[in-house]
Symmetry: C2
DNA sequence: TGGGTTTCGTTTCCCATGAAACGAAGCGTC
DNA sequence: GACGCTTCGTTTCATGGGAAACGAAACCCA
């Protein structure tokens, strides 16, 4: 959008938001089309595929999603037979969640696909640039997380 | 979250999303509290404050928001007396939208506030890092935008 | 052992968002 | 100037997602 130099366009949080949005859009449509998964489900699958079996609480921590979102995603995946629950002997309130064979096989297809897509999206960046983006985002995220942690400490007091 | 090294956590689009989300959250709550504005309204105000008067269509272009979102934001701002419509002689379907005196005065308070907040959030980065981040995000955004432009060309064919 | 508190998962409710359908005005062409 | 086609804005509808309320299980401590 040449010629558009409002202050909003220069505003870093705004740029972050629209870029993230654009990227998410591409990714979501890709694996929405191929696997019928939406973002939350995809994230749960991704984590479970790596971690083996987890409770919903653990999934919340790993995905940083809301517990309701995790719950819904799990329900979806269970209905589609990609995920199964087994009793948790250590805690009767929760279950162990793990991918079924079908789930594992989908998971095995997802990563190459995801890798491929991100490769295409971020091919405009050098490896060094990507690494620096990763680090920078991390710094910012940590800063905000710390900030909020300190906030809630204050709330308690 | 030490020890959490799933592949999802290393996935760049994921990091982008959670970081953007975290930042947006801080900003939104800040000017939600002080001015009773939500993101879309804030963006519209920001652009109008810079540009003088625009139609909704122009606002869509400038903010990259959906036309429905722009419409709703304008309606809100109008109800609160921050924005006024005047007839558009050149095109009877649309109106010129501009900030009222109240709107202008809010706008004048918003930017210092916004600047301050982002300063706090991004204080963990050096000036060079911020510039780098800006450029990198821009590259990625452009890449995706181009990609989608090419997509829709193909759709037409 | 029993009452109070916390935690996990689930349900319910509400709001924000975007897609699609729509009227109204402009544009172009004949 | 009448007809279709496009564009602007608005409304309606469906969906996603989070906050809050809830039941059930676990924990705690006397």
């Amino acid at each position: 959008m040449p010629g558009t130099t409002t202050r909003l366009a220069d505003f870093l949080p705004y740029r972050l938001a629209i870029t993230s949005n654009a990227v998410s859009g591409v990714i979501a449509s890709e694996y929405g089309d191929r696997f019928g998964l939406r973002v939350p489900e995809w994230r749960v699958m991704a984590v479970l595929g790596d971690a083996g079996r987890l409770t919903q609480r653990q999934l919340v921590r790993a995905t940083l999603m809301d517990k309701v979102a995790v719950n819904r995603a799990c329900k979806q995946l269970e209905e589609r037979g990609m995920l199964a629950r087994s009793p948790n002997a250590a805690d009767g309130r929760s279950h162990h969640l793990a991918l079924t064979d079908d789930g594992v096989s989908i998971h095995a297809q997802i990563w190459p696909q995801a890798f491929d897509t991100t490769e295409r999206i971020f091919s405009c960046l050098s490896e060094a640039e990507r690494e620096m983006l990763r680090r920078t985002l991390d710094k910012v995220f940590e800063a905000v997380a710390d900030r909020e942690a300190r906030q809630s400490e204050n709330d308690e007091a």
